[in-house]
Every structure is written in structure tokens, then in C-alpha cells.
């Protein structure tokens, strides 16, 4: 193997990864637009997919980048959904403002959740995440006058986008709005995980003791990540509220939290693409199989999880990565 001159490599690597990310973002946008043309009758389902994808992305920030296992991420998603839903019913109908309200509510909830969860480690931490989402679930159920209890909120009527594009019956506007939102958030998160802050988070996941020996305190870093993660999840929740015009108790549930974790692991942790791939694959298969028999669906997901842990611990995106690397290696070998 020839040794590269270090300074040329120094310039080459960040450029290469930047290029790869631009291609990745383009692919996400293209896949989204393809969905628009290919499934015009399922746009509301696809919008829901985007909304959940934001939730899974937010979970990747906490689990994949910081190494904190959470089974309560839907607390943040639900906070965003209810905040946007309540604001919309109260007369705030500007869609962008509703998204901001959702993100803010998610962020604040994220701060609270982080403050509580970061007190413990390991299993107690996992249990705290569950207890928080269950607590909010019970609170949403009880506060009937604000949240509609088990009936949920409905009848939200967001104003036209930019004052021009109505949220139509077929969900075209909602879908394209959601897709644009997803691409923007995705780009922002790609920049985030490449920032010094993102690198410290990765460090905390791999060896917290080394991070503290560098003189970096973990708590403020992790708390900030919870804030950001909450804002992203809240954005997803608000998008769901605007697009489906319904907010139910299921948006702040243990089940949704557990499903989000399954989607993330299915797609692969810690690279953001996995969150998207996992969401799409999981929800598409669920859409088909669960309609047919919910228990077969459970068995299938269960078997899949076991198989992932045993045979593909890095998830689908990891497997794709691996396959790509093997192919590349083959190509390089054939070249002189």
C-alpha cells in the first residue's frame, strides 16, 4: 500500500465525507419526491412516516450518538403534537409557527426529561425514561379539558402554507411540507453531529472517563443534546398534528417509544441514515402485514429483532455499509 502524504489526506477526507453527505441528502429528497409520484393515494400515510422519521432521528441523537438507551422518546414527540394541536385549536393556525411551537414544547420537555434521566445510569435510567412517558400519558388522559383525554384532539384547521397552499384532502401540501421539513432537519443534524459538540457526544458514548479526563463535563453536553433531540421530536409531533389534524394518546405512549427504538435499531444506530431507512422499512411492512393480522406482525418484528442482534448488530445501514465496503475493496483489487 502506498503511503499518502499526510497533508493531502488532511484536505481530502473532510471533503470526501462532505461530498458523501450531499449525495445522501439528495437521495433522501429524491426518494421523498419519488414517493409523491408513486403513491399519490397514500400521501397521508407517507406524511405520517415522515413525522415518525423525525421522532426516530431524534432518538438516534440520544441513543446512537450519546449511548443513552431510552424507551420514552415519544414523550417529546407527544409534547410537540399536543402543543401544536392545542395552539391550532386556540386560533394559532400559521403552519410554521405551529411547527416552532411543537419544537419548543419538545425542547422544553427534552430538558426536563434529560434533567431527570441523567441522574441515573443503566437500567434505572431506562426505567426513568419509561416512567416519564407513562406519566405524561396518564396526565394527557386525565387533563380531558385540554387534551381531549382518550378521544384526543381533532378538528385542527391550519392556515394555508405561505397563505397560498391549502392543506388539501389528498395531503399533497402536507406531504411536501413535511418532506421539506425533514430535509432541512436532516441537513442540520448532519452538521450537528460533525460539530465539535457532536464529536464530544460520540466520545461520551465510547468512553465517558476519557472525556472527563479531557476536562469536559458530561452533564451540560448531554442536557443540550436532550434539548435538541426534544426539538426534533417535537417538530415531528407538530408535523403529525398538522398533517393528520388529529392528536391522540398514542402519540405519547410507551408503545410508540418502543417502536421508535425498534425502527432505529433495524436501520442502524449513529449515522442518521439508519433512522430513515429503519422507519421506512418498518412502517411499510407494518402497513401491509398488520392490516392482515396484528399478531403475525408482532411475531415478525420480534423475530427480526432477534435476528438483528444475532446477525447484524449494526442494522440495515451498517449492513449496506459493509456490503459497499466489500464491493469497493473488490473493485480496488481488480484495479492495478
Amino acid at each position: 500500500m502506498t503511503r499518502q502524504a499526510p497533508d493531502s489526506a488532511a484536505a481530502a477526507r473532510p471533503m470526501r465525507s462532505l461530498g458523501r453527505d450531499s449525495v445522501g441528502v439528495a437521495l433522501v429528497a429524491i426518494a421523498g419526491l419519488a414517493g409523491y409520484w408513486l403513491f399519490p393515494d397514500n400521501l397521508s400515510f407517507l406524511t405520517r412516516m415522515i413525522s415518525v422519521a423525525l421522532l426516530v432521528l431524534s432518538l438516534d441523537l440520544v441513543v446512537g450518538y450519546c449511548g443513552i438507551a431510552s424507551l420514552g422518546q415519544a414523550a417529546l414527540y407527544g409534547a410537540g403534537a399536543y402543543a401544536a394541536g392545542i395552539a391550532c385549536l386556540a386560533g394559532v393556525t400559521e403552519p410554521f409557527l405551529l411547527i416552532l411551537i411543537g419544537a419548543a414544547a419538545g425542547g422544553v420537555t427534552g430538558l426536563l426529561m434529560g434533567t431527570i434521566m441523567l441522574r441515573a445510569h443503566g437500567l434505572p435510567q431506562l426505567v426513568l425514561s419509561i416512567a416519564i412517558v407513562q406519566l405524561l400519558h396518564e396526565a394527557a388522559n386525565k387533563a380531558y379539558s385540554v387534551t381531549g383525554g382518550s378521544d384526543g384532539l381533532s378538528g385542527m384547521a391550519p392556515a394555508p402554507l405561505f397563505g397560498i397552499f391549502e392543506f388539501d384532502l389528498w395531503g399533497r401540501t402536507a406531504y411536501l411540507f413535511g418532506l421539506a421539513l425533514l430535509v432541512i432537519v436532516f441537513v442540520a443534524l448532519k452538521l450537528l453531529v460533525r460539530s465539535p459538540f457532536g464529536m464530544v457526544c460520540r466520545g461520551l458514548k465510547q468512553d465517558p472517563l476519557r472525556v472527563s479526563a479531557l476536562g469536559i463535563s458530561a452533564f451540560p453536553v448531554l442536557l443540550r443534546m436532550f434539548l435538541i433531540s426534544g426539538a426534533v421530536a417535537g417538530t415531528g409531533g407538530a408535523l403529525g398534528a398538522i398533517a393528520t389534524q388529529v392528536v391522540g394518546l398514542d402519540s405519547v405512549s410507551f408503545e410508540l417509544s418502543a417502536n421508535a427504538l425498534v425502527m432505529l435499531v433495524l436501520g442502524g444506530l449513529g449515522n442518521l441514515y439508519g433512522a430513515l431507512i429503519g422507519t421506512v422499512v418498518f412502517m411499510a411492512v407494518e402497513h401491509i402485514v398488520a392490516a392482515f393480522n396484528p399478531f403475525h406482525w408482532l411475531t415478525l418484528v420480534g423475530g427480526l429483532l432477534v435476528a438483528i442482534v444475532l446477525f447484524a448488530p449494526r442494522g440495515l445501514s451498517g449492513s449496506i455499509d459493509e456490503a459497499a465496503r466489500i464491493l469497493m475493496r473488490g473493485k480496488r483489487r481488480t484495479a492495478p
Binding site: K142, G302, V309
Partner: protein
């Protein structure tokens, strides 16, 4: 006063039912370092077997429970060999994911065979009657659950603290390579303690069915409750688990009685407070 007493007895019985199921989970987590979210699935299998034997085959309560324990362990053995053994030294997240996966499979398969209805385990006449304690009477079944819980706690304490098996188990947990070098068959120890934990889960699932009804989503619905008990008590601690079960049972039953329309709100609020105050559990081991 009468109501307070009857709430207290209810809470105690409910706490003991929780204890019988959860102590196995606490031991697998504390001693074997395995986060087994499928523990509730084994309790559910026990409940289904007991119900099938006692109700559908008419074999009676006692036979039903014995079959539940034996049958669940039989089902667990191949699972331990094929699946669990591979994740003993994997990360917590891997363990969580695989055991959630197993839980999903158990729910799906059980419902494929038994249908999505509630399963009851008919009580024998002796346990269905109230028993007079002098100051007040209590349902015989509750007394039976309380007694079973105490027997399980005492028996486990004796097994772990006072027998050769307990010594080997603790050695295998502290330092597996060293224990192996000293001739302890750690694989066998792990398999045996796993079977013990599963057997207790099945027993608890069967005798606790009055409190935690056997239904299709049992394994998922109570997974959270079981996890909460173990982390509040401190994984691996028998007195900790006992204290956590009685405390959480009391909170749950009292809240349901006093503020029924709040559901589990106060239960989870208490859990958050307790875990924040005692991040290692009420009686967890200092590390």
C-alpha cells in the same frame, strides 16, 4: 379504619404477587447481568399453561401450577441454549432488543394458538372462601399469595446465602474466569439460575393471575411494572425487591382507591421520585 386495613391487605397481597414474578428478574439482572425484558413473557406462558390445565383440561389448581412451572422451564431451556446464552456478555442495548424481540414473538405465537381472549385460572374451593383472621377476614387466595411470597423470599435467601450452589453462583458472578479455573461449571450455574428465575416467573404468573390477569398483551403490559420493581429495589437484592414490591404495591393500590380517575399517574410519579433519590435502588449494591 376498616378500609385502611383492607387496602393494606390488598396491597400486601398484590405486592407479594409482584415479588414472586419479579424476584427472578432481579436475580437475572443483578447476578447474571442480563436485562431480560422477556421475563414477563415467561410469566405469561406460565399463566396460559396453568389456565389450560386447570380450566380446559380440568386438572385442578395445584396440578395446573406445577405444570405451569415445569412446562415454562421446558420451553425456556432451548431458548436459553439458542438465544440467551449468546447475549450474556453483550451490551445492555443488545439485551434489551433481543428480549423485546422474544417478547413480541411469544405474544404473537401464544395468540395464534390460544386466541386473543382473557384466560382465567379457576380457584379451588378452599382458596375461594374468605378466611377469618380474628380481627377481619381475607380472601383465602390472597393469604395463599402472601404465604407463597414469604416462602419464595426465605427459600431464595437460604439457597443463595447458605448452600454450595449459592456460593458457586456468587463466585461465577464476581469473576467468571476465576470461578471456571477453580472448577465451577459456570455454564451450568447460569443455566440453572436462569431456569430458577423462569420457574419463579411462571409460578408468579399463575398464582398472581387474580391481580395481573392473563391476557394477550400481558408480557408487554406488565413489562414496565416488572422493570420498575427491579430498578426501585436494586437489581440482585432480595430484601430490596421485597421492599420495592410492598412499597409500590401500596402506592398502586392506595392511588387506585383514593384517586381512581388518575390511573397510574401517581404510581409513575412515585417511581420517578424514588429512582431519582435512590439511583441504585432502595437497597442496591454500592459499586
Amino acid at each position: 379504619m376498616q378500609t385502611a386495613l383492607s387496602i393494606a391487605l390488598d396491597a400486601l397481597a398484590y405486592g407479594m404477587a409482584l415479588f414472586i414474578i419479579c424476584i427472578g428478574l432481579s436475580l437475572t439482572m443483578g447476578l447474571m447481568r442480563l436485562v431480560n425484558l422477556a421475563h414477563g413473557a415467561f410469566a405469561m406462558i406460565g399463566g396460559y399453561i396453568a389456565s389450560y390445565a386447570a380450566r380446559d383440561l380440568g386438572l385442578g389448581y395445584a396440578v395446573g401450577i406445577v405444570l405451569a412451572v415445569a412446562g415454562t422451564i421446558l420451553i425456556a431451556i432451548p431458548l436459553e441454549r439458542l438465544l440467551f446464552r449468546r447475549i450474556y456478555d453483550r451490551s445492555e442495548l443488545s439485551q434489551v432488543l433481543m428480549t423485546i424481540g422474544i417478547t413480541f414473538c411469544v405474544i404473537g405465537i401464544t395468540n395464534y394458538f390460544f386466541g386473543p381472549t382473557l384466560k382465567t385460572i379457576p380457584l379451588p374451593a378452599e382458596l375461594a372462601q374468605p378466611v377469618d383472621l380474628g380481627f377481619r377476614s381475607i380472601a383465602g387466595h390472597r393469604l395463599f399469595v402472601i404465604a407463597s411470597g414469604l416462602v419464595v423470599a426465605g427459600g431464595l435467601w437460604f439457597l443463595i446465602e447458605r448452600t454450595g450452589f449459592g456460593i458457586n453462583l456468587r463466585a461465577a458472578v464476581e469473576n467468571a474466569p476465576m470461578a471456571r479455573a477453580l472448577g465451577v461449571r459456570t455454564e451450568w450455574i447460569y443455566a440453572a439460575s436462569f431456569a430458577l428465575a423462569i420457574g419463579l416467573a411462571a409460578f408468579g404468573g399463575a398464582v398472581g393471575a387474580e391481580f395481573l390477569p392473563i391476557e394477550p398483551y400481558y408480557a408487554l403490559r406488565y413489562m414496565v411494572t416488572f422493570l420498575v420493581v427491579v430498578s426501585v429495589g436494586g437489581a440482585g437484592s432480595i430484601p430490596g425487591a421485597l421492599a420495592a414490591c410492598i412499597l409500590l404495591g401500596a402506592i398502586d393500590v392506595t392511588a387506585r382507591y383514593l384517586v381512581p380517575d388518575f390511573g397510574n399517574f401517581f404510581f409513575y410519579l412515585a417511581v420517578i421520585l424514588i429512582v431519582c433519590l435512590f439511583p441504585r435502588g432502595l437497597l442496591g449494591r454500592a459499586q
